[in-house]
């Protein structure tokens, strides 16, 4: 039998029961659009997480001091104050560490910031001039911390945008004097916003020269009386050089710390963080897809159900067709084409609906977070193929039932 004839018979049969075909279609439409929309939301979340981390710079290494150990009990990573300012200076050696471009040590403490009647408790970071370029920060207005500030341990401060909003509202912060832990600091600059997420809110912090943090605000020192830093940010030449850089840094620090056994510091690779996060978010995306696939499966069962009803209802028609010379495969293909036509139409409309939902949901705000969606054509194509397959799979049993009906019994049925 001609394919087009079969096709038109199927369209005619589906047309003759519009409500029923429509409801069956709806099952597939909901399934496919759920897969597409949820996958788009998952992928969107994945992309925004990745891009946030990448905004910190992808060729970054973080060195943290190791854990304290007393009587065999390990403390938290970074609790041992054994990474010093001198260590970080040693890493800039171009001969021993050729892969390292720049080094930015930092030390963190909490500070109470007061301006007139407003006050704010925030994270203070003691930095060097390299910090901004290494961590991809930019000054919105005013100026950055210079080496003069470091040398003189000047009482100057750069504020994050959220801190500015808390203390100054719409007033001009540059040039104003605020009190930090009881000392007067001059506001010399405001950071450009980086957005929250990833590692906490990077807009709600303030920056002072690292020397000021030690001499004026007071931070830890090593047991030897040296100035300790909590984190050393290292910018590597490029991503390929990260492994080499890790080796170079490890060598330098082991020699400086006179270590023969276990390292007393840890080096974290930014790329590794991204990869680990991607792995996690992949699982999340797959999980979403799997949940949505269940509704697609239910849609497929709907097709099977309606095809079985259709075969029962049209038993007489099948009998007539068989008496007129229709073979098993003619009847089989008639019902299969009908099922696949249903599921493919549903798949197509589902992709369209999913695409629409993806566009509508993109950028919608839920409380403080924004929903990002990312429509992918591969998922759309896959959904189409899968829905076609579902029609074929769930349509084959009813079609087989129809094809193997005995003509005499089929004709006798009312």
């Amino acid at each position: 039998m001609n394919f087009f004839t079969t096709f038109f018979i199927a369209i005619d049969a589906l047309n003759s029961n519009k409500l029923r075909s429509g409801l069956t279609l709806l099952g597939i439409i909901i399934g496919v659009s759920a897969v597409i929309t949820l996958m788009a939301i998952g992928r969107g979340a994945q992309e925004s997480i990745t891009s946030r981390i990448e905004s910190l710079g992808t060729n970054l290494l973080f060195i943290r001091s190791g854990a304290t150990s007393s009587f065999g009990f390990s403390g938290a990573q970074g609790s041992a104050a054994n990474l010093t300012l001198e260590d970080s200076l040693a890493l800039t050696d171009p001969i021993l560490a050729p892969s390292v471009v720049s080094v930015a040590p930092e030390t963190q403490l909490r500070g109470q910031l007061v301006y007139q009647r407003e006050n704010s408790n925030t994270r203070l970071i003691g930095i060097t001039p390299e910090y901004l370029s290494v961590r991809s920060f930019e000054i919105e207005k005013g100026q950055s911390i210079t080496s003069t500030h470091i040398n003189m341990a000047s009482q100057v401060i750069i504020l994050g945008p959220d801190v500015v909003e808390n203390l100054f509202g719409f007033r001009e912060p540059i040039g104003q004097t605020i009190r930090v832990n009881g000392r007067d600091f001059e506001v010399i600059g405001v950071m450009k916003s980086k957005g929250s997420g990833g590692f906490g809110n990077q807009d709600d912090q303030a920056y002072v020269p690292i020397s000021t943090a030690y001499y004026r605000l007071g931070t830890q020192r090593t047991p030897q009386g040296e100035i300790s830093v909590q984190v050393v940010n290292v910018k590597v030449r490029d991503e390929e050089a990260t492994d080499a850089a890790v080796d170079e840094i490890t060598n330098i620090l082991r020699i400086r710390h006179r270590i023969t056994d276990e390292d007393d510091f840890t080096i974290t690779n930014q790329q590794e963080t991204i990869e680990a996060l991607e792995e996690t978010t992949n699982t999340f995306v797959l999980f979403l897809g799997a949940i949505a696939s269940i509704s697609l499966l239910v849609g497929g069962i709907g097709i099977m159900n309606i095809m079985l009803v259709s075969v029962t209802e049209r038993t007489r028609e099948i009998g007539i067709r068989k008496a007129m010379g229709a073979k098993r495969r003619d009847i089989l293909s008639q019902f299969l084409v009908e099922a696949v036509l249903l599921s493919l139409t549903g798949g197509f409309l589902g992709v369209a609906l999913g695409l629409g939902l993806t566009q509508v949901l993109d950028g919608i705000k839920f409380g403080s977070s924004t929903l990002n969606t990312s429509f992918s054509t591969d998922i759309a194509a896959l959904s189409m193929v899968v829905s076609g397959g579902i029609g074929l799979f769930f349509g084959s049993y009813p079609a087989m039932q129809a094809a193997k009906l005995h003509p005499i019994e089929a004709l006798r049925r009312e």
């Binding site: 018979i9 068989k322 008496a323 010379g325 229709a326 004709l411």
Partner: protein, 240 residues
């Protein structure tokens, strides 16, 4: 053209075997018009199903135009039904959603299928319904529906026309119309026509009556003076 030798059809009803046909032999030659008669349960419907290749006999031999039908599988039987047999049913069995023309076209979809519309139109013309081609079955009278049924049986140019109680659901005027069409096809076009009926009057319109009772042929005799249907045919409004 039909040569049936010693066939039996036995149904298994639970543990009991019921013989619907027992050792029946029948020969039908080309161009004959014959009636199979008998009360219900006599085996005439089973005979019809076997003749129409809808069913196969349990034993015996059925040769249709030189082909042994008894040994065929489902697909081959479908092929025979498509190429050689035209069915006319008591309840018409038209597809309710399709027009008369589409109903007549339907059997052609299972063959080579070229020029379907014209061939269907030609068949409708033969039964005088060419001007009702685009009506659906519900818009046609019983007699007209049955004529669509005959056109559908004719469209493939079958060797035999098998009519199972073709006038069973019709009033006498419509019955007459149907018998007129069948007689004309038999006498003018030489089509072999077999009809199953329990109405003696209908049987009298054929050349030969084969009577069944309890699965046996009890009588097989020619009709001495066959009646001619549609004496005042043109006044009936049937345009043939």
């Amino acid at each position: 053209m039909i040569d049936i030798h010693d066939i039996s059809k036995i149904y298994q009803m639970g543990s009991v075997e019921v013989a619907a046909l027992q050792n029946v032999s029948l020969t039908v030659s080309q161009g004959e018009m014959l009636a199979i008669m008998g009360p219900s349960g006599s085996g005439k419907s089973t005979m019809m199903n076997i003749l129409g290749c809808l069913d196969v006999a349990t034993s015996g031999q059925y040769v249709l135009e030189g082909e042994d039908v008894g040994q065929m599988n489902d697909n081959q039987l479908a092929e025979i039904r498509h190429n050689k047999i035209g069915f006319v049913f008591q309840t018409y069995n038209l597809l309710p959603r399709a027009t008369a023309l589409s109903n007549v076209e339907m059997p052609l979809m299972y063959g080579d299928g070229h020029n379907r519309r014209n061939r269907a139109m030609e068949a409708l013309y033969k039964v005088g319904l060419h001007n009702r081609a685009l009506h659906r079955p519900v818009e046609l009278s019983g007699g007209e529906q049955q004529r669509v049924g005959i056109a559908r049986a004719l469209v493939k140019n079958p060797s035999i026309l098998l009519a199972d109680e073709p006038t069973g659901n019709l009033d006498s005027k419509s019955s007459d119309e149907i018998l007129t069409v069948l007689q004309r096809l038999n006498r003018d076009e030489g089509l072999t026509v077999l009809l199953v009926t329990h109405e003696a009057n209908v049987g009298q319109h054929t050349d030969r009556i084969v009577s069944f009772r309890d699965g046996h042929v009890v009588n097989d005799a020619p009709v001495t003076i066959p009646l001619t249907a549609g004496a005042g045919i043109s006044s009936n409004g049937v345009d043939l």
